[in-house]
């Protein structure tokens, strides 16, 4: 990271400068002579950063402050800010070359003409490269599945709700809007390799959206969950290598679906039973452990471990922050570890490194739930439960990863 490297350079040079009792001024200019105070004017420069790394995480600053902060989970250090908007959605080019920010603005702040577009930023200079106008997008923010990019990085899909439910398709190579299609009764876009997309639907089914032909063909599985009684969290986990999605319901039922032209959904298992507890009920009064938060699950794909933000409570507390993170071995259908967490985080992700790091974020204090002020991010080692880094005022929104 650039700033860490600079700090090192500065302190190394300072040790030398200290011997001459002249201090840091000696090294602020490349043309300065060590041993004399430099009065050489410095040049203003602009830093650049590497392409996204597997150890980086991206935190939306929340509902009030625009921008997505990049941190390195290896160091806990801030890298830079990607210029996203409040209620915006960030997508990261799988090839690591671009950041895409889906935004909506009026020409005159809150009045004038509405504009919806994707801003394109180079991933190393973070320079603005241009906008791709689109017909609209949902205004909600804080979701991973409203703006997704195809695995080859060529196509972007942006969910729209106007309140007609539809999807916009953008060609990133040509940097232009291609077309939109209506998606009645479904949302939560998921890549569906070889087919196009998948989505969750309000009738409790999974839709397969075939984009390979001229006409968009939408088919649905049989309903397998209740969208009103025991909904599946928006925050579904997509695993390209296995061609599947892992889903979590409010009561803690873990579903796995095989993607394809005709997705198949396996029988779910209860998270609580997987932890040796009784299954949770889809009604209040019964105290149990429940998943909760805005981004309650994260999948470490290589190991097949699902991490879940859990809190003790009753049903219909699915937005509550966590007091534990449960580590679920999906193949064994077992909760293999319960990690205590502080600060009631509502947002969770996990890096895809061989030794993964958990990232949790809690909303900032003050002005009540939903004020959207930046809160503390923690980097946790799931192997030990140790807090590796704690970053104040990091953000309150989604945590995303580059891969």
């Amino acid at each position: 990271m650039k700033s860490a490297a600079q700090n090192f350079r500065l302190s190394a040079a300072l040790r030398f400068a200290a011997a001459t009792a002249l201090g840091a001024v000696a090294l602020v200019s490349a043309s300065a002579h060590a041993g004399t105070v430099s009065t050489e004017p410095e040049e203003s420069t602009v830093n650049s950063i590497p392409a996204p790394k597997p150890s980086w995480f991206f935190v939306q600053r929340g509902f009030v402050l625009p921008g997505t902060a990049i941190y390195d989970s290896a160091t806990g250090k801030y890298v830079a800010q990607i210029e996203t908007a409040t209620l915006g959605d960030l997508a990261i080019d799988p090839n690591g070359k671009y950041y895409y920010s889906a935004e909506t603005h009026w020409t005159r702040r809150i009045h004038g003409t509405r504009q919806d577009y994707i801003s394109v930023y180079d991933s190393t200079t973070l320079k603005f490269e241009g906008d791709i106008d689109i017909p609209g997008r949902i205004l909600v923010g804080g979701r991973e599945h409203n703006f997704i990019v195809s695995d080859d990085g060529k196509t972007g899909y942006i969910y729209n709700f106007s309140p007609v439910s539809s999807v916009n398709i953008v060609d990133f190579a040509k940097r232009k809007f291609v077309k939109s299609f209506e998606l009645p009764g479904c949302a939560d876009l998921i890549l569906n390799p070889g087919v196009g997309l998948a989505a969750l639907c309000s009738d409790g089914s999974l839709a397969a959206i075939d984009l390979t032909g001229g006409k968009v063909d939408i088919t649905r599985t049989d309903p397998f969950f209740s969208a009103t009684t025991d909904p599946i969290f928006d925050n579904v986990q997509y695993d390209k290598a296995k061609g599947q999605v892992v889903m979590m319901s409010y009561t803690g039922l873990v579903y796995t679906a095989k993607l394809g032209a005709k997705p198949t959904v396996g029988a779910p298992f209860s998270l609580q039973e997987a932890a040796g507890l009784r299954k949770a009920e889809a009604k209040p009064l019964d105290l149990n452990w429940y998943p909760g938060g805005g981004q309650p699950t994260a999948l470490h794909r290589a190991s097949g471990h699902l991490f879940v933000l859990m809190h003790a409570g009753e049903y219909w507390t699915h937005k509550d922050g966590a007091s534990e993170i449960w580590d679920v071995d999906l193949a064994a259908r077992k909760v293999v570890k319960r990690i205590a967490v502080e600060g009631h985080p509502t947002v969770l992700n996990v890096t895809q490194e061989a030794s993964p790091k958990l990232i949790v974020v809690a909303e900032g204090e003050g002005q009540g739930a939903g004020s959207g002020f930046a809160g503390t991010a923690q980097v946790i080692d799931p192997a030990t439960g140790e807090i590796k880094h704690s970053i104040k005022d990091a953000g309150s929104g989604l945590v995303q990863l580059a891969n």
């Binding site: 804080g142 009604k283 009540g368 939903g370």
Partner: protein, 180 residues
């Protein structure tokens, strides 16, 4: 009493929202139920049904058991069981009034809340007041029977400012629709 039937609600309202015209598939296109504002005709509410005592499990959420009916500027006011955002009652508005200069959205998400004084369930439309920047006063986040994005009319994270001049979110009201 059943859980709120989104589809049943939706059909009636949306036909009205679509202006009563025969425009193809307004309901199918939206695929969700929406609660229309008074500028559009309102739901017919069955008084007989509303009189039935509510014994359903949803009457006993943590929120419902702790709710009060006297101070609508507090998050535990009974109608706020599924609200998310700034209370308009703290921002120069009222329980069903927008603050000056804001515009009520003609459509909204809905909640089913229990009035602890009579133990009955009521349908509440959380109508956003739009066109002014975030009030950020008395922020609350109720989650009774609140669902996810694919069931939009029961999700409270969406900015519900459709059909208003500006979609900027200011605050939220909790408008009585009728007995649930």
């Amino acid at each position: 009493m059943k859980l709120f039937n989104a589809d049943g609600l939706g059909e009636k309202v949306l036909r009205r929202f679509a202006g009563g015209t025969s425009r193809r598939g307004m309901l199918a296109r939206i695929g969700v139920a929406l609660v229309a504002a008074p500028v559009f005709p309102l739901l017919p509410v069955s008084r007989a049904e509303a009189a039935k005592p509510d014994r359903s499990p949803e009457s006993k959420t943590v929120f419902a058991r702790n709710a009060q009916t006297t101070d609508d500027t507090k998050c535990d006011y009974w109608r706020y069981c599924a609200i998310d955002g700034s209370l308009c009652t703290c921002s120069g508005g009222g329980i069903h009034s927008c603050p000056p200069g804001a515009e009520p959205s003609p459509v909204s998400w809905v909640g089913t809340c229990i009035n602890p004084d009579d133990g009955k369930a009521y349908l509440i439309a959380y109508r956003d007041c739009c066109g002014k920047s975030f009030a950020n006063k008395c922020n609350c986040d109720g989650s009774d029977r609140e669902t996810q994005l694919y069931t939009q009319q029961l999700n409270n994270d969406i900015i519900w400012c459709f059909g208003t001049k500006s979609m900027e979110y200011h605050c939220s009201t909790a408008v009585m629709v009728g007995a649930a």
